[in-house]
Symmetry: C2
Subunit: 242 residues, 2 copies
């Protein structure tokens, strides 16, 4: 793990860019006391999404966590994949045509991404949990590509709390993995999000094997999650990570 | 409104029984400063349900509210209705036989109850809001028979926040009324409650016309609502009643 740059943000937050192998990432911490880590997901393209990611990270660091995010495969400055580009183009075409998105498109879009991203996230966890500013205890995940959070929760016992944002596609073949998940989870669903498959999200929530799982559904579109969900998410993480 | 008895409970809470016409009820208050009112629902039979109702009321009073509940028609010490008894017997028979409950049974069970209970609840509000210990402002409703909360929210503009517990039957003919509701609402759904029609609850949540509506689904049966929902409900009421 190599730190490539650092800057101080407000409220005593240190933001450091790093690379792990050829995977870039960003780490936000405050102070030198070890804090529990929340691995924040993204939709690919750290620079493009920077302001939103930093805003979320600052809010979470203020609650006493360290926050990290890593670039997705084939996104941002990382090498492209022809198959991933094709799957994205097919998805866009189906949405623009107002057609239901075929399951095989979702599989081509998500399954290779999950296969590649999950080991990268686990390698990032290995390196991050070795830092003195991060406590070597339970880890939370927050948002990002739903399939990645699902696989991570299923395979990595360090994940003790998963905050999931319904709204990215999950192939039906992954529902079997969801049944293996026992991690406490909170899933946020925007009820009238037109770009979202509500029934898929409800079916997935149903499939998770976790004994503690909570669904919060609210009105509004994809970016309209109400402000009052912020404290709820904090309470959820505090119950499981502190 | 006649107060018929009073006793002091712990934490400076005064519990008073009252009758309004021939409808008995219970009021819990603390101190003499006017507090916003939460009308707490019940499933009929105040004496039978007393300990659970008092426990919920004490928790709510501690958050700075006055809490009242009134006996349902044909329940507790109130005169029985042959039609209501028949509808309850038919419901029980269907459930014991493992059959789906016919819509006409739900209609016979709920519609006359709503027609009778809602004006009684409104009369109770008239009397309660005139008390100096209760602020003459927005009112919350919490739990009880879902159809009653629905109709109250639809017809009474004093209701500014409704906490709904999915789990009692709502006739499909009332879904049209749900579309008229604009009251902010929080619906709690026990996801794997076997005595509950999950799809009906999701359809009803979808039908409500409220711009702020939130669904919280958790694991566990009818009485297994997790303790962490308590603070969430308090925050919901605080946003709308204080």
């Amino acid at each position: 793990m190599h730190f490539t740059s650092e800057q101080s943000l407000d409220a005593d937050v240190l933001e450091r860019r790093f690379t792990l192998g050829d995977v870039p990432g960003i780490l936000w911490t405050s102070g030198s006391e070890p804090a529990p880590l929340i691995l924040m997901g993204n939709q690919g393209g750290l620079d493009r999404m920077y302001s939103r990611l930093a805003a979320r990270a600052l809010g979470t660091v203020a609650e006493g966590y360290a926050v990290a995010t890593v670039e997705l495969p084939w996104s941002g400055d990382r090498p492209r994949s022809a198959d991933a580009e094709q799957a994205r183009a097919d998805l866009r075409r189906a949405i623009e045509a107002g057609e239901p998105v075929a399951e095989e498109i979702i599989e081509r879009l998500i399954l290779p991404l999950v296969d590649q991203a999950v080991p990268e996230s686990q390698a990032a966890l290995d390196a991050l949990l070795a830092l003195p500013e991060i406590s070597d205890g339970p880890v939370g995940t927050s948002g990002g590509v739903l399939g990645i959070s699902l696989r991570l929760a299923a395979v990595d016992p360090r994940i003790a709390a998963a905050l999931l944002f319904a709204g990215s596609y999950v192939p039906r073949v992954m529902f079997e993995e969801a049944r293996q998940v026992t991690t406490p989870l909170l899933m946020l669903l925007q009820w009238d999000d037109e770009g979202n498959d509500r029934q898929m999200a409800l079916d997935l929530f149903d499939a998770f094997g976790s004994k503690e799982k909570t669904l919060h559904a609210n009105m509004g579109g994809h970016t309209g999650i109400p402000a009052f969900e912020g404290p709820y998410a904090n309470q959820f993480f505090a119950r499981h990570l502190k």
